[in-house]
């Protein structure tokens, strides 16, 4: 076996291991590090995170990275451990109405909020009404479409009504945006609630030492940990100190001096060294949504032509991107959806292996001939020149730079235009680009694919059909997937959607986004949920 093959094999094996661990989350979830020995209570850890967060109110804020931290502070009504398997959280049981417009929950009677107030049906009703109150300025409004009201049936039973069928309610309940917050806490803390949220989770926010240091402390009353964590009682760790540091090199240095026990996104360049060192452990979690890709403009420019779009796909080596830009801390994309998504369809390997010669042949046949002096292809005197509009900064700029070089080898002249997120979004709205950038972290394929490829979702604000695809077939499939309640049927539908995207070379899938964490080997049993987010409830420090 050549070296190249073996790396590839190793990569696949590693991705498969994650997939297995995830699917098996019902049983023991993917724990990090050797769980040998009995858990030792006590101890504190410093978690150096890579972002600055400004709002920890889960009912208000939307950020996949803030969710990592919110998950320690809040509990959901239901936990999701599989695409169609939900298990009790703060709700002990639930019933879904036949038409999917009413959901009735029986709640736990023993749960309390961090401020000592009891968790009950009123708190659930309060949460939904607070989210929908314009005064709250919640960005979670989209998770309660066609809300009809909440009835408090008895102190520990609630019925939530919607005016139209709502398929993904349970999933959104488990998704991190709809965990109950203490009504008394909300009233008492006012605007400070964003910094000092009061939930029911295993840790509570003790204080902010300064704007970049937040302290979480063990919730001593906690005994409603989900069954799959195998630890219902208060967490082992006494304290988690969160430090927010944006410079990756600094985070790594803090790990090496022993100042921190958990680091989000250590620099990719040094991951190999950490992996080889037995004193450290590295965890890589694949995000489940739409892979990081280049949408191609269907409405204008040379990318209107299928051969050009195909050539762009053949000319790029996804493996090289993963290797050179990310030092293999990401996977090369294997389909439009991430391999962690339950509707994943493995198409890219077969459709678009890296084959620059084939890219050249396709372009030749389509009339784009190489100009020997400029080394750029031309048709009717027009050079094959495309604008790639993307955000500045890592990794977008680096990926664009590498892709640009690979396309250039095939005689395609790509001009990279780097700008701020806002400016790039404006360009996508205007349609003044041939190659864009997109990748989404959502969990359900409907959220990902409908928003990105339905003809009513052409870019303008928050719609992500950047390529301006208008196809009746595609629309029909996306609508069918949205209505269906049968997971097997939906999986089939979304796999057909993905096939359509590759048949038409609508996008250039490039890599799967990952969450990367590093810690010393002495931090045991950090677990990762279905979405790849860390959970510290059962984690402990070996002395």
């Amino acid at each position: 076996m050549s070296k190249r093959q073996s790396t590839r094999f190793a990569l696949r094996g590693w991705a498969a291991a994650i997939a297995i661990a995830v699917v098996a989350a019902a049983a023991p979830p993917s724990g990090s590090g050797p769980a040998a020995g009995a858990p030792q209570p006590g101890g504190r850890i410093v978690w150096v995170d890579s972002r600055t967060h400004d709002n920890f109110d889960a009912n208000v804020n939307v950020s996949r990275y803030t969710a990592w931290i919110q998950n320690q502070i809040y509990d959901p009504l239901v936990w999701q451990i599989d695409p169609d398997r939900f298990v009790p959280g703060l709700a002990e049981s639930w019933q879904v109405g036949a038409d999917r417009t009413t959901y009735t929950f029986k709640l736990r009677k023993d749960a309390t909020f961090h401020d000592g107030m009891p968790f009950n049906a009123q708190a659930v009703k309060f949460m939904f009404e607070r989210i929908l109150d314009p005064e709250t300025k919640s960005r979670r409004v989209g998770e309660l479409p066609n809300y009809g009201g909440t009835d408090v049936v008895d102190p520990y039973t609630v019925r939530v009504r919607f005016t139209k069928p709502y398929n993904q309610f349970l999933e959104n309940l488990a998704g991190g945006g709809l965990p109950p917050a203490s009504p008394a806490g909300v009233r008492a803390r006012g605007k400070d609630f964003a910094r000092l949220p009061v939930g029911t989770g295993p840790f509570f926010v003790k204080e902010w030492r300064d704007e970049k240091t937040m302290v979480l402390e063990r919730n001593p009353r906690y005994k409603w940990g989900p069954a799959f964590l195998k630890h219902a009682n208060p967490p082992y760790l006494e304290e988690i100190v969160l430090r927010f540091v944006t410079e990756p090199t600094t985070r790594l240095l803090a790990l090496e001096t022993g100042e921190t026990q958990f680091v989000s996104y250590p620099p990719e360049e040094e991951i190999e060294r950490l992996r080889r060192n037995a004193n450290y452990q590295v965890s890589v979690q694949v995000e489940s949504g739409l892979v990081q890709n280049f949408p191609l403009n269907f409405a204008s420019g040379p990318t209107r032509e299928l051969p050009v779009r195909q050539a762009l796909n053949f000319a790029i080596s996804r493996k090289r991107v993963a290797q050179l830009v990310f030092f293999n801390t990401v996977n090369p994309a294997r389909g439009p959806l991430s391999s962690r998504n339950w509707a994943f369809w493995r198409g890219v390997d077969n459709y678009f292996p890296h084959d620059p010669l084939r890219a050249g042949r396709i372009l030749d046949e389509a009339g784009w001939k190489l100009n020997p002096t400029t080394k750029i292809r031309e048709k009717a005197g027009q050079p094959l020149r495309l604008r790639l509009v993307t955000a500045a900064g890592f990794p977008d700029a680096k990926v664009a730079e590498l892709a640009q070089a690979m396309w250039r080898e095939a005689g395609i002249d790509v001009r990279v235009e780097l700008m701020s997120d806002a400016a790039a979004r404006k360009r996508y709205e205007e349609g003044t680009f041939e190659i864009g950038r997109l990748g989404l972290g959502f969990f359900d394929p409907d959220s990902v694919l409908y928003g990105s490829y339905h003809s009513t979702m052409i870019e303008g604000g928050g719609r992500w059909n950047r390529g301006r695809i208008v196809s009746r077939d595609l629309d029909a499939m996306l609508e069918a997937g949205r209505i269906s309640t049968n997971t097997a049927e939906r999986r089939q539908i979304y796999q057909r959607v993905q096939k359509w995207l590759l048949d038409n070379a609508a996008i250039v899938p490039v890599w799967e986004h990952t969450y990367v964490f590093a810690s010393p080997a002495t931090l045991r049993n950090v677990q990762y949920n279905l979405r790849g987010q860390p959970m510290f409830h059962a984690a402990w420090m070996a002395k």
Partner: protein, 285 residues
């Protein structure tokens, strides 16, 4: 003028500076012909190679030749430094000179307008320019240049304010010399030394501000190479591939040092007082 030039050539530090700067300029201007590789040529099989006879300064993470990128990067970095300082220095000399010499309401008016610019944080100004006009070399140079106008103007004004109180200036004015003449003959030489020092330092500052913007992700678009950008990109490799940061860092340092030496030399040979003084101290030179 030719006498000045001759003195400059004989000035050991100035000529060293000029020599180094000359080498950089030649390397930058003729980079296409001189560089061993194309600066944007990616070679994935030769990524992160240490310096060797084939790649004198090694290769970067996507296998591009560092030496070639430094040569081409010199074009951008030197251009950013020189042009933006030219913008700032010219405008600053005029505005500061007029303000300091005229005084009164003209001074007030000029200084208040400049104060607005100066009170506005540079980095936000640059971000705003880049945000409105889009990133690009020209916009970056204008942003850095405009932000440096008030600095030059205030420095010039301060020196003029102090110099105009000197007896010989007061005397010249009393004797009826015209404003322009007094400014040119008596005030400018006083302003000139700190001004030149400040200008040379600002070339460095401009190059560095460019690199700061690169660090914040607002640098020139790929595949362009720029020293500050190379340094920023290489920072995570501090321990794994030292050549990615060492060589661009040395390039910045040498270029800045050369510009400074040249500036000092120019100051030495143009300042009559200093010449006299040195003549008195060291009769041999």
């Amino acid at each position: 003028m030719s006498a000045l030039l001759r003195r400059l050539v004989r000035h050991p530090l100035a000529s060293t500076g000029a020599l180094i700067l000359g080498v950089f300029l030649v390397a930058a201007v003729f980079a296409d012909a001189l560089a061993p590789y194309r600066p944007e040529a990616v070679n994935a099989d030769r990524a992160l190679l240490a310096p060797s006879p084939e790649h004198w300064m090694g290769t970067d993470r996507i296998g591009r030749d560092v030496l070639s990128r430094i040569m081409h990067g010199g074009q951008l970095s030197l251009r950013i430094g020189l042009i933006s300082v030219a913008i700032g220095a010219t405008a600053g000399l005029l505005l500061g000179g007029v303000a300091g010499y005229r005084g009164g309401w003209i001074d007030d008016a000029i200084m208040r307008v400049l104060d607005v610019l100066l009170a506005f944080p540079n980095i936000l100004l640059a971000l705003a320019v880049v945000g409105v006009a889009g990133p690009g070399l020209t916009n970056l140079m204008i942003a850095v240049g405009v932000a440096s106008i008030p600095g030059f103007a205030r420095l010039v004004r301060g020196s003029v304010l102090s110099a105009r109180e000197h007896d010989y200036v007061v005397a010249a004015q009393a004797l009826g010399a015209s404003g322009a003449r007094v400014f040119r003959l008596h005030l400018l030489p006083n302003v000139f030394a700190p001004f030149l020092v400040y200008a040379t330092l600002n070339v460095a500052l401009a190059i560095l501000n460019g690199s700061g913007l690169s660090y914040l992700g607002l640098g020139p678009a790929p595949p362009a190479s720029e020293w500050g950008l190379m340094l920023s990109d290489g920072r995570a490799f501090l321990r794994r591939a030292w050549w990615l940061t060492a060589f661009p860092g040395i390039a910045i340092m040498l270029a800045v040092m050369a510009i400074n030496l040249l500036g000092d030399g120019i100051r030495d040979v143009t300042d009559p007082k200093l010449l006299r003084a040195r003549g008195g101290e060291r009769p041999r030179s």
